[in-house]
């Protein structure tokens, strides 16, 4: 079944429409080839998967000292693949299109935010790679505007081509473009080469400007999201990185209520981005239908409340979301509770459940089992845009792809 047959839904009250038909679409002549686009969305500071992708669904509940659950079962959202947590409500319209990957293992011990966030966004725990979107542009797409970003890109030392989405939205080039004089014929520097590049793509840039003006005409608030769409459609970029940095999820204290609210707001922003992509025409279909999204955070949060009624870092388990034309909607993997009595860490935690190497079903055993790690999520996202994992370098070659997640 493809995602178009699957429009939800159960909670949004909209059923069996195509994504593209949900919105009146803005149409522009597309400059790019008919290609896949990729957007990495990062929700920083560690999301609580128990409120979202991996809720507690059983009638029997654990002791509150092991697992604090702030919702009733009837507050969970039904999907064709099971129940998801209340923080995903803003994404209701897209729940039948996304693939939830639960049980992503980041690290055995707590190592702060940096390493696991780098791991989640690059697929390399050793810092060997840059943020996936920028790495893809650098190694594969090599687009004139590179990766459009609304957050800081992790750069492991490559000359990445990165463009700020906000400054792109405010791009003031005008006729100056006609007046940039490149005079060197033989001797040239990086700066000269950049000028040549800029001039080579001036038609696309003008087209982009037209689009931005049209966006702003319809909505004066049009900004970085529209800049990403404009850059995609005008053939200036194929990858973007969106950091939902305005949301503070690091709820080491006062977690109940607060985290749910802020995580819901973050997913609302994701839904808004999806809506905008769906409303953008791209060669007879919508831009949403041509884009693969990967949504990550650095870890989930500990199941029990600490003494400040907060939830701490839980890198032993995490989740990720994929959505795209070649992603098969559904849910895979699992997170299970390691309770206080069993935990060697002195506190309960949510552990990534390994999956069977063949069936990819969660299994509580080691033999023939695979621990899902961020590199597997990255390799799967790459497969969804028809790329082999080795585009990220020889050391990434052969990284296991989660086949269940693909159509």
């Amino acid at each position: 079944m493809n995602r178009r047959d699957f429009l939800t839904g159960m909670s949004a009250g909209v059923s069996f429409l195509t994504l593209s038909s949900l919105f009146p679409r803005l149409a522009f002549a597309a400059n790019g080839m008919d290609e896949n686009f990729f957007v990495l969305i990062y929700i920083p500071a560690g999301w609580d998967t128990s409120l979202s992708m991996s809720p507690w669904v059983s009638e029997t509940r654990p002791q509150e000292s092991d697992y604090f659950i702030e919702y009733r079962k009837d507050e969970l959202i039904k999907t064709s693949y099971g129940l998801v947590g209340p923080a995903l409500a803003p994404l209701a319209r897209y729940l039948e299109n996304i693939r939830i990957i639960n049980g992503v293992f980041m690290n055995a011990t707590e190592v702060g935010h940096t390493s696991p966030s780098v791991y989640a966004m690059t697929g390399s725990g050793q810092g060997g790679l840059s943020t996936l979107s920028a790495e893809l542009d650098y190694n594969v797409m090599k687009m004139p505007f590179g990766t459009i970003t609304s957050g800081q890109i992790i750069n492991n030392g490559k000359a990445l081509n990165v463009m700020s989405a906000d400054s792109l939205a405010r791009l003031e080039i005008g006729s100056l473009m006609d007046d940039l004089i490149v005079s060197e014929s033989q001797k040239s520097t990086e700066l000269t080469r950049s000028k040549v590049n800029l001039l080579r793509y001036q038609d696309r840039i003008r087209n982009f400007k037209k689009m931005m003006d049209a966006f702003k005409g319809k909505n004066p608030q049009a900004g970085s999201d529209e800049a990403i769409m404009g850059a995609f459609v005008s053939g200036l970029s194929k990858t973007a990185f969106v950091n939902m940095f305005s949301y503070e999820l690091d709820t080491h204290s006062s977690h109940p209520g607060t985290h749910l609210k802020t995580l819901s707001e973050a997913f609302q922003k994701v839904a808004n981005l999806f809506d905008k992509f769906a409303s953008m025409d791209y060669k007879g279909t919508s831009l949403l239908d041509k884009t693969t999204f990967m949504i990550v955070s650095e870890f989930t949060r500990t199941p029990a409340l600490n003494t400040s009624r907060g939830k701490d870092h839980n890198p032993q388990g995490n989740s990720a979301i994929l959505m795209g034309p070649k992603i098969k909607p559904g849910m895979m993997g699992d997170l299970h509770l390691v309770d206080r009595a069993t935990s060697l860490l002195g506190a309960p935690y949510l552990a990534a459940t390994p999956i069977d190497k063949i069936t990819e079903q969660p299994v509580m055993r080691r033999q023939d089992a695979l621990i899902i790690r961020p590199e597997n999520v990255v390799a799967t996202a790459l497969a969804a845009i028809d790329l082999n994992a080795d585009v990220l370098g020889a050391s990434f070659a052969g990284t296991r792809v989660l086949k269940t997640a693909l159509k």
Binding site: T149, D166, E172
Partner: protein
């Protein structure tokens, strides 16, 4: 030059510098280029509020990747050398400062030489200079004034020809001739011509690096 070294994130190599990737010749760093533009256009004149685009005045989340900000996490510049985003940023800022000059009351524009002013003031009222700049066609100017416009600003930005020539990229005279040819082929006002000159001069390695 492209940097090809891959370092790890936590304890990064120490090759980076305040500016873009460092070599014997380096680009001015992210805040230096901001300070230099301000110094060039305004000198000690106090900054007018709300006129110059903020991206040209402060390093912020929007411009720092483009300007070669050195990431505190890695000790490396985010981009190794000025890329096309940098040129776009510079163009925006040249435009912003030029618009300011246009609307400001600085009659004795720094961008015109005393010789040119003397020549111009033979026929126009000094108080009407800015209006004149904005309505007069560049191509209607005498050759000597056209040359002086290009040469005086060249000297302001780069200094004498030998400073420019020592970079080895291009001969100063040849470069100015190219600028002249470009301008002569357009129907620009004097002000627009000055903007174009500035756009090109300030986007040169000879200005941005040392």
């Amino acid at each position: 030059m492209r940097t090809l070294i891959v370092f790890l994130i936590l304890f990064q190599g120490s090759l980076g510098l305040a500016s873009f990737d460092s070599n014997a010749r380096r680009y001015m760093s992210y805040y230096e280029v901001i300070a230099s533009l301000r110094e060039f256009f305004l000198g000690s004149t106090s900054l007018p509020t709300g006129v110059i685009s903020s991206t040209c005045l402060v390093v912020d989340a929007d411009n720092k990747a483009d300007l070669g900000y050195n990431s505190p996490a890695t000790g490396e510049p985010i981009t190794a050398a000025p890329n096309s985003n940098y040129i776009r940023w510079m163009s925006t800022c040249v435009g912003s400062y030029m618009s300011y000059l246009k609307m400001s009351s600085i009659k004795d524009s720094r961008l015109l030489s005393e010789t040119t002013k003397k020549e111009l003031f033979k026929t126009i009222d000094p108080n009407a200079l800015l209006v004149w700049l904005d309505i007069t066609e560049y191509n209607s100017l005498p050759e000597s004034v056209k040359n002086d416009l290009v040469e005086f600003t060249f000297n302001l930005v780069f200094g004498p020809d030998d400073v420019f020539n020592q970079f080895g990229l291009m001969d100063a005279k040849l470069y100015r001739a190219k600028i002249r040819n470009h301008l002569d082929a357009q129907k620009y006002t004097v002000f627009k011509a000055l903007s174009v000159i500035m756009l090109n001069y300030l986007n040169r390695d000879e200005f941005l690096s040392y």
